[in-house]
C-alpha cells in the first residue's frame, strides 16, 4: 500500500486532549477509516510505503492545515494549536516509520507526460479546470511537481510490486481510470478504504 500525503495527514489528525480535566479526542473526517485500514494492513501483513517525499511534504503542510482548521473554527489560541500540532506530528512520524521503503526513484517523465496529455482532451481538461477551482493557490492547470513526483515513485515501485495508491487528493482521484490504464497503478480513494478492505478479504477467501 502506497500511502500518499493526504492519506498520511488524515491518519495523523487524531489528538487527545483534556478540557477542565475531562479527556476527549479531536479527529478529522476519514481518520477512523484510515486508522482501521492500517490495522487491517498490519493484521494481513501488507507492506506500507511512505516515501521520503511524502514524509517531507506532510510534515511541511501539517502546521498550515492545523492553522486552517482553527481559523475556520474562529479559535485564536496559538498554544492550543501548537499542542494539537505536536500530537499530530508525533503520530505522523510514527506512521512514516512503519514504511518498508524510503527513497524511491520517481518516473517523473511518464507521469508528467500523462498529465500534459490531459490538456489536449476537452473532457479531461475540464476536469483539470474544475480541480484548479478547488485549489485556489494553484497557478497552472497541472498538479504540483511534488504530486507528480509522488505518483512517479508509485509507478517505479509498481514495476516490481503491485502498488495500491491510497489517497484523498482529487489530483489523482479525478483521473483514477486514466492512471490505471496508462501507468498501471490502482488509485484507492481514502473514503472507500473500508469497502476496498472487504474486497481484499473476499478475494483472499
Amino acid at each position: 500500500m502506497f500511502f500518499e500525503t493526504t492519506a498520511c495527514v488524515t491518519y495523523a489528525f487524531h489528538a487527545t486532549y483534556r478540557f477542565a480535566g475531562v479527556p476527549g479526542v479531536l479527529k478529522s473526517v476519514g481518520n477512523e477509516i484510515v486508522s482501521e485500514f492500517l490495522g487491517f494492513c498490519k493484521r494481513e501483513k501488507i507492506s506500507l510505503c511512505i516515501t521520503e517525499t511524502v514524509r517531507e511534504e506532510g510534515l511541511s503542510k501539517l502546521p498550515e492545515i492545523v492553522n486552517r482548521y482553527f481559523d475556520r473554527a474562529r479559535i485564536r489560541s496559538p498554544t492550543v494549536r501548537e499542542s494539537v500540532f505536536i500530537k499530530l506530528r508525533t503520530r505522523y512520524t510514527q506512521l512514516a516509520a512503519l514504511s518498508k521503503f524510503d527513497i524511491v526513484e520517481s518516473d517523473l517523465a511518464k507521469v508528467s507526460a500523462l498529465y500534459t496529455s490531459f490538456l489536449k482532451n476537452p473532457e479531461l481538461r475540464a476536469r483539470l479546470i474544475k480541480l484548479k477551482e478547488k485549489k485556489p493557490t494553484r497557478k497552472g492547470l497541472l498538479p504540483s511537481q511534488t504530486d507528480i513526483q509522488i505518483l512517479g515513485e508509485a509507478v517505479t515501485l509498481n514495476l516490481k510490486n503491485r502498488v495500491c495508491f491510497v489517497t484523498d487528493d482529487d489530483d489523482y482521484i479525478f483521473f483514477k481510470n486514466e492512471i490505471k490504464q496508462n501507468l498501471g497503478v490502482d488509485i484507492i480513494e481514502l473514503l472507500e478504504l473500508r469497502s476496498f478492505a472487504q474486497t481484499l478479504i473476499s478475494r483472499h477467501k
Binding site: 478540557f19 477542565a20 511541511s60 486552517r68 501548537e82
Partner: protein, 288 residues
Amino acid sequence: MIKVKIPERGWIPLYALQILGKIPTATKMQKLVFLVQTEGKIDGYRFYKNHYGPFSDELEVDVRSFSQSLGLMQTQIVEGAHYPYYVYQPTHKGQQVIGQFMVENVPDDVRERAESLIKKYGSKNYKQLLEYVYKKYVIPKETFEETYSHLTDDLSSLNSIWTNWYRDDCAASFLILAVVEYCSKALSKVKATNEPVLQGVCASSISELTGKIMDLTAHWKSPEECPFSFKTIFSEISDQINFIDHFCGRQGIIGNIAEIDFSDFINEEELRRLEDVLAQTRPSELMY
C-alpha cells in the same frame, strides 16, 4: 604543528568539548561555560545576567567561528522529540589545537579547576543545568515584580507584532505566538503562587526566551514572508521552550504544551466549533 589563532577565552568551550566528547544543545554549552567561569573564578566570556541570561553573545559568536570558519568543532542540528536542537563535537583539528593551546597558555591550577567543573556539570543535561543556574544565580524575590512587569510588556508587544505577521503557512509565526501565549499564562499563574523559587526560575527562563525572540523579531524586516526556516528558528529557541515547558509541567504551574488543559486557553463553545469543523472538513480540503 597546526597554527590557529583563537581568542584567549576560546579555550573554555573547546576544552569542555575535548573532555566531554560532545555537548548537546546550545543552552548546555552556554550554561556550562558560565558555571566553569563563575564557580572556577576563571576570566573569559562576559555574561548578561539580568533581563537576558546568563547568556554570552561572545560565546555564541566564538562557537560559530570555531564551527564555520576555523573547523575546530562540528555543529549539527538533530531532530528532538518535539523540536530540533544543536549538538557540538570537536574535530580532530580542534582537539590538536586545544591540546597545544592548553600547554602553552593555561596554568595548571586553572586547567584543573576547569576540568573538575566540566566533569561535575558536564554529566547533567541542559534542563538540569538551567534549573540549577536559575535557582542559584538569577532574580531575587525583591526584583520579581519589576521583572514580571517588563516581561508582560515585552510579551504583549511580541504578541501584537506576530499577530500582525501571522500567516497560516508560516510555521515561525505560529510557534512564536504559541510560546508568547503560553509564557504569559505561565507567568500569571506563577505570580499567584507566591513561591519565590518558582517565580525566580520561571521569570529567568521566560526572560531568556523572550530576549531571544525579541532579538529575532528586531532583525526581521519583511513581514510578507515566513521569516525563518523551520529548523533554524526552532534550534535557536527550542532549548528554552523545552525547559519552560518541562519545568512548568513538573511544578504543576501549567501543563507542558502537549498536555495543557484546553480550558486554560479556550472556552467550551470554541472547543465544540473546532470539533464540528474537524467533523465536516477533510484535511485534504485544506491542503492547497
